[in-house]
Each structure stands twice: as C-alpha cells, then as structure tokens.
C-alpha cells in the first residue's frame, strides 16, 4: 500500500494549540503555588499567538488535506480568529474570579485550551467524522468546567444537565450522520456533494431524515427553540466565569457546525431545511423575547436573549444566498462580542462569596462605577438594536438578506419581536442609571488588563456600529469563494 504523507501545514493552528496545551500542562505540574500566574500568561500567549498566526493565514487560498477531512478557507480562518480572541477576553474577565473562588486554576486553563482546540477542529472539519470529533473535544471540557467549582449542588446540577443534553444532541447528530452515510456511503462532505449531484432524481427521503436528525443535534448545541430548555438552567447554575465561556465562543463553533451541515454538505436539500429553519427561528424569537421579559435573574434573562438572538441569526441562513450566510456570520460575531461584554461585566462584579445574579444587583451601578455602567449601556443598546450600534447593523443585515429574496413577512414578524425584546434590555439600563444603589461602595476593578479588556469590548461594539463595512465584507467574502 502506497502512502504519501498528507500536507500538515494547513492544520498549523490546531497543532500550535495542542502543542502549547501540552506545554502548559507540563509547566503547571512543576509549578509551586506562588508562581501560578505563569499558567495564565502561558494560556494567553497560546491564544493570542495562535490568533496572530491565524490572522497571517487570512487570504491564503482554500486547502483541503488529510484525505479530504480537513479544510482551511477564509470562513474557517475568520471563525478561528474570533474564537481565539473571544476566549482570550473570557480569560481576562474571569482571572480574578477564578483566583477568588478557589477554582483549580491549572485545570481550568487546560480545559479551556482543550475546548478551544475542539472548536478549531470543528470549524475546519470537512468530513462528518472530524465534525463529530471536534464537537466532542469542544463540549467535554465545558461539562467538566461547570462542575469544577466543586461543593456547589447548583453547579453540579447544571453540569449534569448540560452533559445529558449534550449527549442527547450528540446522539441525534450521530444518528443523522449514519442515515446520510447509508444514503451516500461517505462521511466526506466533498464526496457527499458529488454523490448528490449524481443522484438528484432519486427520492431523498433518507437524506431528509438524516438532515432532520443532524440539524436537531446542531440546534440543540446552539440552544434554539424547541431545543432550548437547557440554556436558562445551565446559564443560571454555572459559576459566572463558566457562563461567560459557554455563552460566547461555543456559539461560533455551533454556527460552524450548522453551516457545515446545511450550507456545505446538504445544499441540495435547501427547500426542506428552509421550512425547518423558518419554524424554529419563529419559535426561538417568540420564546426568547417573551419569556425574557419576566426574568429577575440577569443570567436567565440573557439566556433567553441568546435563544432569541440565535433565532435572528437563522434568518440569514433562511435566505439561502451567500449574502444571507455572510449576514448570519456577521450577526453571530457581533452577538458573541456583545454577550462577551455583558457576561464579562457580570463576572467582574462578582466577588468572593457573592455571585451577581439578580437584575437588582445592577441598581445604581452608574454611581458606583460610571465607566463600567457606560460600557454596559453601550452593550445593552447594541443588543436591543438601537442605531448606530453594531447590533443594529447585524439585525439590518439578516433582515435585508431576507427581503432580497422576496420573503417580507418573516422580517416583519422579526421586527415585532425585536421591539418586544428592547424592553428587557432597556430595563437593565434604567436600573443602572435611575435606581438607588443597594450598597454604596464603589466598584473598583483591581487588575489593569480587565479594565482595558472591557473598555475595548464596549468601544468595539460602538465602533463596529459606526464602521461595520470591513467586517461585513470579510463575512461576505467567507461565503462567496
């Protein structure tokens, strides 16, 4: 049997991440308690270094390697850059939290790095086998991370819930993969596409069934109604730093999972999955926006807001044009930036023995720390879609893509839900600026990098709203090639 070694270079980001993760693991083992900051810095170097390499790779032509199971194109690179950067911000926000709450910091950073590796693998997957492996590599550390805070029954309940729901989602996905394998005799996305173009006239019933199962798995992972029941419970039960993590980068990975299945592997079944997505998008927007109104717990409220936002993201995919896909990607990136900021503020305001959870805990934040309140204001305005914030352009993008393909009723319904949704975001703004604080002590952020990170994050939301063109074009190009 002749064997030519595959081209390893396209997988340089994954190899870098894995190599550095192993290095962090070894260094952590030989560190004593005093020098534990080193683990944090090594982790940040890994994330930012890999992100720099990813940026330098951007613009290179599409490569497929490892016998067609790995793809590196502009879409994958763009997603990887944002995954790496967002996890780096997550670590900056949660550093103090991890130290104060006695969470085993070495294991925390290691599991985060492993999760990042899984997301990278998933984003670059070009066969269902690597797709599934990437999904497991990125999910398994997350389950463990939630339970890492030990003695809290709430956290363990959230971890078990997330684990079981994740296992069910994996089961759905695998069953779908097996059905599609039965119809096409291949895991490879490239071979599946060529197989389908050959047998377009045969009845695609088995494929449709596989499609339903696979997209159910992906929708589960993204927390889209009717597979959303775990989202509020897990967000609420997890320690704040873990909520921050699971609410941001995994959404980008989930987006990659959904687009790999629908847009890349099964574009032939577009008429089938368009109806499917219309139904779940409507349900998501309705459930998310309406139930969020009655939430007193800010983590639950943001969880329902994430369900609604995922619904808006789907609108871009429903359009079924490269423009729509690009708009959905842009929406996803902006959502992750916003949710990074919102959960980041929540994590920063939590102290030892005090988990910020209630909307009322934000009372009078303006008098306690005006700059932090202002950053939160920018982020919440953007989530509510107030122009000229980034969230506004993200919503306009997906709605416009739908109007372009002559679907007008769906954007109209989406707008109504967006107006309902504005209420609960603005309620937090009102609480921050016009209510008397519960405690008068000013909030002081100890570390400089945390302050810098939240400032960059809040201002990014603002400036991406003023100058959105570059990022929108990058997202559009990702689907044009």
């Amino acid at each position: 049997m002749n064997f030519t070694p595959p081209d390893f270079f396209p997988a340089i980001l994954e190899m870098l991440t894995l190599g550095m993760t192993c290095l962090v693991m070894l260094v952590y083992l030989f560190l004593d308690q005093k020098n534990r900051g080193i683990t944090y810095f090594l982790t940040q170097i890994t994330l930012l270094g890999t992100a720099v390499v990813a940026i330098s790779l951007h613009g290179s032509p599409e490569v497929i390697t490892f016998d067609g199971s790995f793809i590196l194109n502009s879409q994958a690179i763009l997603l990887k850059i944002f995954i790496l950067l967002s996890v780096s911000f997550v670590l900056m926000y949660s550093r103090t939290y991890i130290r104060e709450n006695d969470i085993l910091h070495g294991e925390f950073y290691l599991l985060v790095l492993f999760s990042v590796l899984g997301m990278e693998v998933l984003v670059s997957a070009y066969s269902f086998l690597t797709l599934y492996l990437g999904l497991e590599i990125f999910s398994l550390p997350l389950y463990a991370l939630i339970a890492l805070k030990g003695n809290k029954p709430v956290c363990q309940e959230a971890a078990i819930k997330y684990f079981i729901m994740g296992a069910i989602a994996s089961g759905f996905l695998l069953y779908g993969i097996s059905l599609i394998y039965g119809a096409c005799q291949s895991f490879n996305i490239h071979e599946i596409i060529s197989m389908m173009s050959l047998s377009i006239h045969t009845e695609p019933l088995l494929l449709t069934l596989g499609l339903v199962f696979m997209s159910a798995g992906a929708l589960f992972k993204l927390g889209i109604a009717p597979f959303h029941m775990w989202v509020p419970d897990v967000y609420e039960g997890s320690p704040n730093a873990m909520t921050l993590l699971i609410a941001t980068a995994p959404k980008l990975a989930g987006f990659a999972l959904l687009t790999h299945i629908l847009v890349e592997a099964l574009p032939v079944l577009f008429p089938q999955w368009q109806y499917l997505l219309i139904a779940v998008a409507l349900l998501s927007m309705a459930v998310g926006n309406i139930i969020a109104i009655v939430q007193d717990n800010i983590k639950r409220m943001l969880a329902y807001s994430s369900i609604a936002n995922m619904g808006y993201m789907l609108l871009g995919l429903i359009a079924g044009t490269p423009r729509g896909y690009g708009a959905a990607l842009f929406y996803m990136i902006i959502y992750v930036v916003m949710s990074l900021g919102a959960f980041g503020v929540i994590t920063m305001l939590s102290r030892k023995g005090f988990e910020l959870e209630k909307v009322d805990d934000f009372k009078g934040l303006n008098t306690r720390n005006p700059w932090l309140a202002f950053m939160m204001l920018l982020i919440l305005f953007s989530m509510a879609g107030v122009p000229p914030s980034a969230g506004f352009f993200a919503k306009v993008g997906v709605l416009e893509a739908l109007v372009k393909v002559n679907i007008v009723w769906l954007p109209a319904v989406a707008l109504v839900f967006a107006i309902i949704g504005a209420y609960y975001y603005l309620r937090v703004v009102k609480v921050m600026y016009f209510d008397e604080p519960l405690e008068k002590t000013p909030v002081i952020l100890e570390s400089f990098d945390t302050q810098l990170a939240i400032s960059i994050n809040g201002l990014a939301v603002f400036f991406l709203g003023l100058f959105p063109t570059t990022l929108i074009e990058l997202c559009q190009q990702a689907f044009l090639a």
Binding site: L18, G134, L148, Q185
Partner: protein, 198 residues
C-alpha cells in the same frame, strides 16, 4: 445456510436483550442484558468477517467497561420506586413517539432508498487477509487526523476526571478567613429553652 441461521438467532438475541436493557426493573439486571447484547453483536460482526472489531468489543466493552459499570451500578443506591413512577407516567407519550419514529424509519429505509452500494460487501477475502492489519493500515494513514483527535479526547477525559475528583483543597485544615468574617451569631450560637426540672 448455517450462516443465515446464526445471523437470525443472534440478531433476535440482540434485539431481545436490548429491549430487556430498557424494560428490566433492576439496573444490575439491565447491565447484564447489555453484556448479552454486546456478545450477540460481536457474533454478528464476526459473521461480517470483522474479527478484530468483534474481539475488541468483547475485550474492551464486556471485559473492562461493563465490569466497571457494574461496580458503579452496585454502589449507587438507586431509588427504584420513584424511577418507575415517572416511567409509567410518561409511557403513553413515549410509546406514541417511538411508534411515530419507527414508522417513519421503516418507510424511509425501504431498500430502494438506500444507496446502491449499501448492501454490497466483499464476503470472502483471501486466506492471508488480516483484518487487524487492514484496519491498522487504514487507521494510521487515511484516518490519521481523526485518530489523533480521538487520542486528544482521552487526554481530556484524564484531565477532566482528575480536575473533578481531586479536591485536596477542601480537605486541607486551613483557616478560611472569609467564612469566619461572614459568620453571624445565629450560625454559632444556639439558645435552647430547657424545661425546668421538678
């Protein structure tokens, strides 16, 4: 002929024991039926001349995983009553869903709908053909990337398991200043009203 007979016997055994896994009342018994199911499917794989996988299933799953699983099941003190109460409550809903699923699947998996190559396997390889060697060649060349990723999953499992069970800190006898400062009179002091002795 004899192969067909073996197939039907063990396929029936597999389905029967798999059903018993979910309907049996005791979890230990369910685990035993799972072992039977594994053995039956190992025989089916043997019929497909996949000896390596068949033996692996017996060695790894029956020999190692299920033994461990039995330990865990025996150590857990499961409350059977409350489990069964919910089982009965959700039964009609579950039966309806399963019937719907089976109906759709049976309709979708009509032979014509499967791809043309679906049922074609090379039944009789030559005498010097080694299943293990063929698998190894494929695994370390064609699927090398996936193989490495599977290894990473094992590494994650080790790190996660250690992280979750290693709770040295909470057992340490060190001073917890925050807990001391947060303590109130009600936590430490209990005032009992004792009846006066007569």
């Amino acid at each position: 002929m004899i192969e067909k007979l073996i197939f039907y016997v063990f396929a029936a055994l597999l389905i029967g024991s798999a059903t018993m896994v979910i309907v049996s009342r005791q979890s230990v018994r369910a685990a035993f039926f799972l072992i039977v199911a594994f053995c039956a499917s190992a025989v089916l794989w043997m019929l497909l001349s996949a000896e390596f996988l068949a033996l692996l299933l017996i060695f790894v799953y029956v020999g190692a995983v299920m033994t461990l699983f039995m330990f865990v099941v025996m150590m857990l003190n499961l409350d059977q009553e409350s489990l069964q109460e919910k089982f009965v409550r959700y039964l009609p809903f579950a039966v309806l869903l399963v019937a719907l699923m089976v109906g759709v699947l049976v309709y979708a998996m009509k032979p014509g709908h499967l791809g043309e190559l679906g049922l074609a396997i090379s039944p009789h390889p030559s005498a010097d053909y080694s299943n293990t060697k063929a698998l190894g060649l494929l695994l370390y060349t064609h699927y090398v990337y996936a193989f490495e990723l599977a290894a990473v999953i094992l590494l994650i499992a080790i790190v996660a398991a250690i992280g979750l069970t290693h709770r040295e800190k909470s057992r340490n006898k060190r001073q917890r200043i925050d807990a001391q400062l947060a303590a109130t009179k009600a936590d430490r002091l209990q005032i009992l009203q004792l009846e006066a002795e007569k």
